[in-house]
Amino acid sequence: MQQKRKWLLVAPVCLTPLLLTSQLQGTEPEKPARAQVQEAPAPAPTPSPRIYPPHRADQTRTNLYWGDTHLHTNYSPDAYINGNTVMSPDEAYRFARGEEVQTGSGLKVKLGRPLDFLAVTDHSEYMGIHVRLAEHDSALADWPVGKRWAELLAQGNRVLYLLDMLKTLQDNRPEDALPDGVRESVWHDAMASAERYNDPGHFTALIGYEWSATISGDNLHRNVIFRGNAADLAGTRPFTGQDSRQPEDLWNALQRYENVSGTKVLAIPHNGNLSNGRMFAPTMSDGNPFTADYARRRARWEPLVEATQIKGDGEAHPYLSPEDEFADFETWDDSNLMGTVPKKPEMLQYEYVRSALKLGLQHDSQLGVNPFKFGLVGGTDSHTSLSAIEEDNFVGKFSNGEPSPTRAMEHMAGMGPINWGLVASGITAVWAPENTREAIFDAFERREVYATTGPRMQVRFFGGWDFTSDDAVRPDYAQIGYAKGVPMGGDLLRQRQGGAPRFMVAASKDPIGANLDRVQVVKGWLGKDGQLHERVYDVAWSGDRKPDAETGKLPAVGNTVDVANATYRNTIGSAEFATTWTDPDFDPDCRAFYYVRVLEIPTPRWTAYEAAYFHITLPDEVPMVIQERAYTSPIWYTP
């Protein structure tokens, strides 16, 4: 009998084609749960009597933690209407920390490699409202909009209900605002979920939400993430795009949180690629040029930017970086978020990370403060409650786009771009002394983080003035990095004795992934001519490739991908690189930034895994190979 029951449980999973690979294992026994320590303070860094035991609370003995800073659940209206009706923040946290969960369509899913941390960031606008309506929340009984919706729900009239809801969201009329108390109550539930799964030392559940201001269809969204716990934030409520669509007002709201809660908070701008030139535009919301005060506040509240996610990669654009043969990577540049206004080339400079970092140098020279002094993170922005964005486990953007023989050629959410263009990306790596809310948040603030497009390659990046070429190959190179320099996200200031800055880079492949092609340093600077410049240096690469004498370009690493079978071989590339690099073009009078880009060898794209699994043929225009990458936060030089 036991045997039979098991079979019944497992059967729908085996029959249902979600299980692409070992990353999602429907039949694995559930991983045992961990303790849920509520509101436990971080272990205080106790002074150690010994010199060398590397106590984990020592700021320079950092561990690498992986997580998602951008994930939606059924609390987000657009997730709900696109089929994610049953997966709450609880399921999101459980899945992220390695437990098996069941999606609304009955699929059992489990992450092959759990995450170390997760911020659930549901849209703050009408957060949780559909869940409450489905539960017949009495607080919504007298709310005309809710009444209308509940009636439609009760009639089972899904279509009219959805039409009405979308229209109400779009119109944003004051009389449609939620009744008092509902926002607070939903927010309380969202925070309580994070508290249930936050487990200091093992899994960090960060409290957060997404402020989803959209102006004329242009995306200005920010993910708001807190350092503290639910008790600190009692009585607060999420700031919405209905409250204000101006980032300056969001920052005021963040200041108010800090005033009342005593904890800290920051905002992470959404990938700027769908903002149609708004995200890093040189003007404030009132249309005037930046003031020093604006720049200071922006730098203070927004120390990070989302460089890559499912809706496109935002590091660089080929129009802006024509010399960079890797700049055209999973580019989404057709239009704004809502698809209402086509993209114009002049918008691009205000959308992409590399360009914004350069513009920041210029603002800095004019205002004395750099508004765009940000580190780089990756988020999924998945609306399925499932942070599963590796090529071989890509669940998709919305629940109505789960793996199937047809989804690659269907429209995202039925109305967006064709699904094959979705990017199985991104993830955030954090160098922190321990896995707690406080330590992860503090690493965010000092920008000691980096983004990858999915794989978990390990990247160390230090800047300093007197690294020796021996340092990078020492067993304790990381301690040397901290002792003699600054890690990613840090600052270098003018040296009296002159000389160029030296950078120590160490990159290792994802322990269960593909080899690495090369390590590059991307430099941007403000020249004496007042112009902004950029250059990409190859600083370490695999094999005995030689840069082309004429172009200076390193030949491509090659390609071992077998598209038909969705496999590759690690017969090319290198498992690790460690090197010290000196800027050959350094000018001590010029502001500059440096960040590292690490390229993997080519591997099968999610579309290749899907085609191989379902035995389908996709059109030639669908890319089947991807060269995944990591982007570190920059190190800035300021004269």
């Binding site: 045992p32 010994r50 035991p53 106590h55 696109n82 089929g83 999606t103 279509v159 039409l163 990381a478």
Partner: protein, 313 residues
């Protein structure tokens, strides 16, 4: 709830449907038609009569688009009479073809349809009576009965000194590791480590804090991970050498949490989830068991033979 018992039941079923993701919208079409027939008795939209009304057309448009936005409603309003006629024709054609296909038993031939319908029924069994509400005692009983599920995974905190097999050869690396361990034991840790950390550069990290076995295994290989989690930890003392996939290591374990039983209070949320899931599964099993009784199963002698254990023959 003010509606009649029948209405309440339909309501509950519809709420269940509401939870279905859109991707199943087409799949549950058949069930929906039955429910519509119950909810709005429009006479005979069955057999040889095909009813066409606004709601059916809207659903038709939405389902074909596989989307739910307001474009379908808008589009319907803007259609010219000729376009509406064409839409109705398409709808009627699909209905007629669908019903004939059903009459001919084509659905039985189509595995995809069989599977979807079976899943839909399973879903109904699981959710028809709403979410079951457990008492604390029920949860405690469930926890006690499944105690093995609620254990914490072990974690380890340690530093290591690495000797590369590539650089020194496996034997050379092991010899160097043993020499270094002896030096630490005779001269003291500070004397050996203070000036310059011995050994070679390891591809991943020097220090690991509270990491689980799968991560350690991915960096050092499974055998070494197994050993680190099973040896006497000798907290704070250097021990080894241990062989990894890339060389030999001396290891100083700072902390090792063994796999421990989690108290009920710490896992109550998960217990509740598991309990609810178990109840739903039991409903589905019971629903199937009732169903199964109605069937007489004829297994061919050949297959019956294959179903019998060899030992029992």
């Amino acid at each position: 709830m003010t509606s009649s018992e029948k209405g309440g039941r339909i309501h509950r079923i519809l709420r269940g449907m509401q939870r279905e993701p859109l991707v199943h919208f087409l799949a549950v079409g058949l069930v929906l038609f039955l429910l519509y027939a119950l909810a709005n008795p429009v006479g005979a939209d069955a057999g040889e009569h095909i009813a066409v009304d606004r709601q059916r057309l809207l659903d038709f448009v939405q389902s074909r688009q596989a989307t739910v936005d307001d474009s379908a409603g808008k589009r319907l309003e803007k259609l010219t009479p000729a376009e509406v006629r064409a839409l109705v024709d398409e709808y009627v054609r699909e209905q007629a073809m669908y019903r004939e296909a059903e009459r001919l038993g084509l659905a039985d031939e189509d595995y995809l349809i069989r599977r979807r319908l079976a899943q839909s029924l399973d879903f109904l069994y699981r959710n028809m009576e709403g979410v079951p509400k457990p008492t604390e005692q029920q949860l405690r009983d469930y926890y006690a009965a499944h105690i093995g599920r609620y254990a914490a995974a072990p974690a380890i905190t340690f530093s290591h000194i690495y000797f590369s097999g590539d650089l020194h050869g496996w034997d050379g690396a092991e010899r160097l590791a043993r020499q270094t361990l002896r030096a630490i034991q005779t001269r003291g840790e500070d004397a050996v480590l203070a000036q310059r950390w011995p050994g070679d550069r390891f591809v991943y990290q020097l220090n690991y804090a509270e990491r689980d076995k799968s991560l350690i295994a991915s960096h050092f290989g499974v055998p070494m991970a197994d050993r680190l989690f099973s040896i006497a930890p000798h907290i704070g003392e250097w021990q080894g050498p241990f062989r990894s996939t890339s060389g030999w290591h001396l290891v100083r374990i700072e902390e090792r949490d063994s796999a421990g039983q989690m108290p009920f209070e710490a896992v109550v949320v998960q217990v509740q989830r598991d309990w609810v899931e178990a109840q739903k599964q039991a409903r589905a099993d019971a629903g199937y068991a009732r169903l199964r009784e109605r069937y007489d199963i004829g297994v061919s002698p050949e297959i019956r033979g294959m179903m019998t254990d060899k030992a029992a023959q």
